[in-house]
């Protein structure tokens, strides 16, 4: 039992016999500094008060507790010491030991030590169930998949970095993981590293805390394919962005492939450093959008087949018709139908499915949004006031927000054109129709407007 363990055990004993407040006040940051050959124990305490207190009031408590574990202890005294200095050296010792042990573990056949460690890493981060072969391609993700394929064939040579963006549950992670798996399948010696930006940040913080930042950087420099998921979470974390920037640059310069995903394009990520933004934009940017009906049907068929579950076309069509936004929800709905059929031993029929999904579809978030929610979000977003937005005025600043508001009321709330016109100071229904068509038309070509509308929708449903 070394001094640290001895003191931990002793503290455990003492803690039982005195009040929590006393224990916290007097025994915090204490340690055994030394035990000499005469078995005299010197306890390090952070200040003079603790010294007086431990020596005078808890002297016998401590002595008794110490003797439980080390009966030969003869006496004790206290000395003031600085916890920090000692703590640092303890930390140092702790850092070294795990590193050592992992080197020992990696003591295996033909592969050198370092890559083996890497592979260990990657096995835990890549999920083997995500493959290109089970990725359903539709019009919405054709380009993204093609780009990913091309990148896998020519690591680091074309499209570097590859930036994939799209909303939640549309298959970004699937694509990213499939790339990692494909590359490994071709050449298992390659170092593929898949990491979420959240984990990247945590690892960075840990390495800063443990003073292993150099090791951290070195690990990254050996990678052939670096995949960073959900990079938008880097937003606002300056130090992480900076480190990421260095890693990015050093990989980029030696033509290592980098693949990044996010829920929005680089320029829409707020507080992303300019230099990172421009680098993200320097390669290939592809988006994954919502699957169309046919793709959704195909996805459902594929998922059902994967699980040996028979579904007729009507049911598939019903699910695909009602759940539009997100592949994950689609899968969830299918799971639910399967579970209910399994449990109740019924054959899947359209009634069963309607019942099973009734509340999912009914509680679809669209229903809960009100007209004024949309108006409020728009006026806050464009910084115009509510009255002005709803009035007849034709100031330039309010015209576009008003048109967008009309568009959103139409698409999201399904209001009638005359109804929309009524809301905006008794306008004619043709005005509303015009607004809707204009925005819909502009959106086709104007990527910025598309982003804006997406952002607004997010805000509206956030309420």
């Amino acid at each position: 039992m070394n001094n640290i363990e001895l003191w931990q055990s002793t503290l455990g004993q003492i803690e039982l016999s005195i009040s929590k407040a006393n224990f916290g006040t007097w025994f915090k940051n204490t340690t055994i500094l030394s035990i000499d050959e005469k078995e005299h124990v010197v306890i390090g305490v952070p200040n003079g008060f603790a010294k007086e207190w431990l020596e005078n009031k808890y002297h016998s408590n401590i002595l008794d507790a110490l003797r439980v574990f080390r009966p030969q202890v003869a006496g004790l005294s206290c000395a003031i010491y600085t916890p920090n200095a000692t703590k640092r050296s303890i930390d140092g010792a702790q850092i070294k030991s795990p590193a050592k042990s992992s080197v020992l573990e990696s003591n295996e056949k033909n592969i050198t030590k370092q890559p083996y460690q890497q592979k260990q890493h990657l096995k835990s981060t890549l999920n083997e169930k995500y493959l290109f072969s089970n990725y359903i391609v539709g019009e919405n993700n054709e380009l993204a998949k093609a780009a990913c394929h091309a990148v896998c064939e020519n690591l680091g040579k074309i499209y570097n970095p590859l930036f994939i963006y799209g909303g939640v549950g549309l298959g970004k992670t699937h694509l990213l993981q499939a790339m990692g798996n494909a590359v490994l399948e071709k050449d298992s010696e390659k170092h593929v590293y898949y990491i979420s930006s959240e984990k990247f940040t945590n690892d960075l913080i840990n390495s800063i805390r443990n003073h292993t930042i150099d090791d951290f950087k070195k690990t990254y420099q050996k990678i052939d394919l670096l995949i960073i998921d959900d990079v938008q979470f880097l937003s606002g974390k300056e130090k992480t962005q900076q480190e990421f920037f260095y890693i990015f640059n050093s990989l980029y310069q030696i033509n290592k492939q980098i693949v990044i995903s996010s829920d929005r394009p680089p320029k829409s990520i707020a507080t992303l450093e300019e230099r990172l933004r421009s680098r993200f934009e320097g390669g290939m940017i592809v988006d994954v959008i919502k699957p169309d009906l046919e793709t959704r049907v195909a996805i459902l068929h594929a998922k059902a087949r994967e699980r040996n579950f028979a579904l007729n076309d009507e049911i598939v069509r019903y699910i695909a018709d009602n759940i539009k936004n997100n592949v994950r929800e689609l899968e969830g709905a299918l799971n639910r139908v399967m579970a209910i059929c399994d449990l109740s031993q019924k054959k899947p029929s359209i009634e069963v499915v309607q019942n099973a999904l009734g509340d999912i579809i009914a509680s679809g978030r669209k229903r809960t949004v009100q007209t004024h929610d949309v108006i409020d979000v728009i006026s806050a977003h464009y910084d115009v006031n509510n009255q002005e937005l709803l009035s007849k005025g034709r100031k330039r600043e309010v015209v576009k927000p008003r048109q967008i508001a009309m568009y959103l009321l139409r698409t999201e709330l399904n209001l009638s054109y005359p109804g929309i016109g009524e809301h905006f100071g008794g306008r004619d229904h043709t005005t509303a129709l015009h607004a809707y068509e204009k925005i819909a038309r502009t959106m086709k070509d104007d990527e910025r407007l598309r982003d804006e509308i997406e952002v607004l929708k997010e805000k509206i449903y956030d309420i």
């Binding site: 003079g48 008060f49 007086e52």
Partner: protein, 377 residues
């Protein structure tokens, strides 16, 4: 415990002790003040485990004893409830009974069993410093200490025991104040501090308390990470801050190229008025020297602008333009006890040095204050 003592002195002692007693803590006893009657004296103690205060006062003792009393109650009672003259106390099983004039008050007391023991001073080597000088040196520096805990060593006052002077400094990394007490005769035992202790960092709260209570000659003793201040029956004990203080001499302007010598009040006026128009967020005002003429100005896009020409300043050196934060400048200038000040500039990125025209004398610490300029964009 039964005694009689002077109301005035008791009042004062309790007021001091109340400030030191902990406000909120996991250990409720720290909110109490300890009263102990022993050897014909009354001892009053309070601590928050960072700072400890012990006050000894004379009293007419009839019976020895000790107890602790909640500090808030005691100090409120003492400041309103006892009249000048004498106050007598007696500890009974119901609490401690105060009698003063025609009043009779019982305050419930607790035993002293769990009250912390103040660290004892074993070190005999100490230095005694002229209280006016010491007070001045602390006052001139303490306001510059950092309030942020990110660098603990900057939250204290640094004292360096140099060969024939004591150097006091505090900084929050935006500005730095330094005050030096020179010795003509080194105090006895100073060698120990010069050779062995070398330097210490005292928490700024300790200094605030010390400034409040010190009046007569102060004796300083450093022992094992703690410092003891003794003065006329008062003993203030504090921990010291561990850590290495930055070697600030490195950033002291070595060769300023432009010197402005002017009346302190003129400059105060210019900076204060300009600061009204400095941007609230960035808080910037500009000092510009063009052709031996000085101008202090500030401009706000929202409220307007101000400009003061420094007419009566004598300026030597080259043209300069420096942007700085008026608050930091004002903090420093108000500490200067002189009608004239010297502002020394090097360039727009180097610190501004402000000093008094007087040189250090025996009864006057020498003061230097530097401020980092705001980087112009």
């Amino acid at each position: 415990m039964k005694l009689t003592c002077l109301s005035e002195k008791f009042k004062q002692a309790i007021t001091y002790a109340e400030r030191v007693a902990a406000r909120s803590t996991t250990l409720p006893i720290l909110k109490n003040i300890l009263l102990r009657v022993k050897d014909n004296k009354l001892f009053i103690e309070a601590t928050n485990l960072e700072i400890g205060l012990s006050i000894v006062m004379n009293a007419k003792v009839e019976k020895e004893g000790e107890c602790t009393v909640p500090s808030k109650i005691l100090s409120n009672f003492v400041s309103h409830g006892i009249i000048d003259g004498n106050v007598s106390m007696e500890l009974t099983e119901h609490g401690i009974i105060f009698e003063s004039g025609t009043d009779r008050t019982v305050i419930k007391s607790m035993d002293t069993e769990s009250f912390p023991i103040l660290p004892k001073k074993n070190e005999t080597k100490n230095i005694t410093v002229n209280p006016t000088l010491l007070k001045k040196a602390f006052e001139e520096t303490v306001f510059s200490a950092s309030v942020s805990e990110t660098r603990p060593e900057l939250t204290g006052i640094f004292i360096s025991f140099d060969e024939s002077q004591m150097r006091f400094a505090a900084t929050d990394s935006f500005r730095l104040a330094e005050s030096i007490i020179k010795f003509t005769d080194r105090p006895p035992d100073y060698d120990y501090y010069y050779h062995t202790i070398k330097s210490i960092i005292i928490p700024k709260n300790t200094i605030h308390e010390l400034l409040r209570i010190m009046d007569e000659a102060i004796t300083i003793t450093v022992q094992e990470n703690q410092i003891f201040f003794e003065s006329n029956g008062l003993l203030l004990i504090s921990r010291l801050i561990e850590g290495t203080y930055p070697d600030y001499e490195q950033i002291m302007p070595q060769n300023p190229v432009t010197d402005i010598k002017l009346k302190k009040d003129d400059f105060l006026h210019a900076v204060k008025t300009s600061s009204i128009f400095s941007n609230e967020k960035t808080s910037e005002i500009v000092l510009e020297i063009i052709d031996k003429k000085g101008v202090v100005s500030a401009m706000s896009t929202e409220y307007g602008s101000h400009l003061t020409e420094l007419h009566n300043a004598s300026i030597t050196g080259i043209d300069q333009k420096i942007v700085f934060n008026p608050r930091f400048i004002l903090d420093g200038i108000t500490q200067i006890n002189d009608e004239e000040i010297i502002i020394s500039l090097t360039n727009e990125q180097s610190p501004i040095l402000i000093s008094s025209t007087k040189t250090a004398e025996e009864f006057e610490p020498s003061f230097r204050y530097i401020v980092m300029p705001v980087r112009s964009t």
